[in-house]
């Protein structure tokens, strides 16, 4: 992704591994400060996933893979039994960070599979290679989704997106924003309505930041205003990412996605979900089988930003001690989804068999 640093534009990935260290763009500090954070062992990387230094399905999956690679390096001098126990333990730690994103579980599984055979030394090599492959697969899938999705974007298109399924949510390009990037790169005029995406405001903080870096025109709106612009005919399509897609095409994604999908359908606005193979979970029959994470109510009652003195500040919005609830995701039934933009092509309804056919191993 493009990052403007001191007037110079650099190309960076969202996260990467340098030997035993994992480095990440610290997304908790964006858009106000651009910092690269370093994590020296798998526990630190797991904590970074939990603390949302990186977030987004793909990025979390890649970080999980790199954390497994770190674990393998940490245990490289252990006995075979010790190594395997250490890897199983690390897998447990990493699995315990974020319950909803399936990429994380896939990544951990792929790395565990990679260390089932051979000497400890061979197993370490295999895990490192697998972790790199996870990141490479992520990158290639994002690029392909961009090419395929860009065909849906006509010149002058006004796209609405929710949350951040951009480069920052993956290694680069992203899912929902990848078609926008590619269309823009093809010289098409594209405008992006950016839902701010309460409570954590990944839209106004991250998606708007990405659009600003890429020079793509956009406007942040409160989540409440998406329907207003749809009803006025000022939204030509909605594209969102996904945290998990069930076998029947139901989608778990950031809280509010469901509302946008229902209102889009009521207004005849096409609603696309961009998601790579990793996000499709054929073992989950329907959306109702997906566990929804409920996060701290403080994400609703407090918000951080830059105060007038230029410093970070967290402020309390309602009265002290107010009661709040904070489901982090919701489920959008397949009937609201016009199509899935995947690296294997566009999938149109009816979904059930097509999803299973496309992604059966």
């Amino acid at each position: 992704l493009k990052v403007k640093i001191d007037g110079e534009t650099r190309e960076l990935y969202t996260l990467w591994r340098e030997g035993e260290t994992v480095k990440m763009i610290d997304q908790r500090k964006l858009p106000h400060r651009f910092e690269i954070a370093s994590f020296g062992d798998h526990r630190a990387t797991a904590a970074a996933i939990k603390d949302m230094v990186c977030r987004g399905a793909g990025a979390v999956g890649c970080a999980a893979g790199y954390a497994m690679a770190q674990a393998a390096l940490e245990a490289k001098n252990a006995s075979l039994q010790g190594f395997m126990a250490y890897m199983e333990d690390a897998a447990e730690t990493i699995r315990g960070t974020r319950p909803t994103a399936v990429n994380l579980f896939h990544a951990v599984e792929r790395c565990l599979e990679a260390c089932r055979e051979g000497s400890v030394r061979e197993r370490v090599e295999n895990v490192l290679r697998e972790a790199d492959m996870i990141a490479e697969d992520d990158l290639e899938a994002s690029k392909s989704m961009g090419e395929i999705g860009a065909r849906l974007i006509a010149d002058g298109c006004r796209v609405l997106t929710h949350c951040n399924a951009g480069a920052l949510a993956f290694i680069d390009y992203g899912t929902a924003l990848s078609p926008v990037r590619v269309a823009h790169g093809q010289g098409k005029s594209v405008f992006v309505w950016v839902d701010e995406t309460r409570p954590r405001c990944q839209g106004s903080r991250l998606t708007a930041w990405e659009m600003e870096q890429e020079g793509i025109p956009y406007a942040i709106i409160v989540d409440n205003a998406a329907g207003y612009y749809m009803r006025r005919g000022e939204v030509d399509m909605v594209v969102v990412g996904a945290d998990r897609v069930a076998a029947n095409g139901d989608v778990a994604n950031k809280i509010g996605t469901y509302e946008k999908a229902v209102v889009a359908k009521a207004n005849g606005v096409p609603f696309y979900v961009a998601a790579p193979e990793m996000t499709f979970d054929l073992n989950t029959p329907t959306g109702d089988d997906i566990e929804i994470e409920e996060r701290s109510p403080e994400e609703v009652t407090t918000i951080w930003g830059i105060a007038e003195d230029g410093n970070h500040a967290r402020v309390l919005i309602p009265g002290k001690g107010s009661s709040a609830r904070n489901p982090a995701f919701d489920v959008t039934p397949a009937e609201y989804i016009t199509g899935f933009i995947t690296e294997k092509g566009l999938i149109k309804p009816p979904y059930n068999e097509k999803i299973v056919e496309t992604f059966r191993k």
Copy 2:
């Protein structure tokens, strides 16, 4: 409304007149500080309306009436000609405070009508009486809506509301929250889902504060989460207020109301609008004839609250210079509305003739 002050619960109105002084709960400081502000003449009261010391259709109308009463007292020793000139001038000042609030214009008009006949002394008396009547009408209408709306609320009901159409927006009781108050007073168990209502958060700041004072169980949610709870079957009804109702039953209300209505319909959740006669505008044929105010983008990009040091602070959420749009209201088509809770009874569809019949002068 109930207000807990130093552990003691007092019954107060949102605003009232004491001789030549108008007193108001200072809503700019809620929910973090509770203060009563005093305004010694009609110009000070007009400035208070403009500065949003009070807000909400009914409260603004009552404050305008009291400001006219203050003007009458200020001019009570003038000649008849001098008195009338002073009153016309005061009317002009008060009309210039909030150009969009229809209740304010109605109130000023009623007070001007009340001083057309008799001696100066009689005219002063008439204006004072009319200003009191405006407040009394507001109070009676709110109470009636509470009684009528409470019949729709079964024991154990979970009500979702958007923005603040509570006691603070009127003299007492409110519109959308009045049925909740009355049902709670009848001993029914009621739970309120409070949409925070971005961008100004009148839900999390004011509605939650009212529920806290009344001891009614509630939870603040981000606007994005309303659909989630509806789909899970955890919302039994939605009740909102209105800024203006067109003759055909289309409703202009706080941005986001439209989305909630569409999602409520998709889930079979009844969607009620509570509004007094004053809010129905028979001269506006449909919702599309209502002009929608677009407010400053800074309401989207910045937010205020209490910082960790206990002081008021305003923070910037997205990157500096980010682009944003901020429509303040939206229009909900009549087809999404299950019924109108009014002081004249419950109005059910089809609306057009029934609204005109009920409110024709």
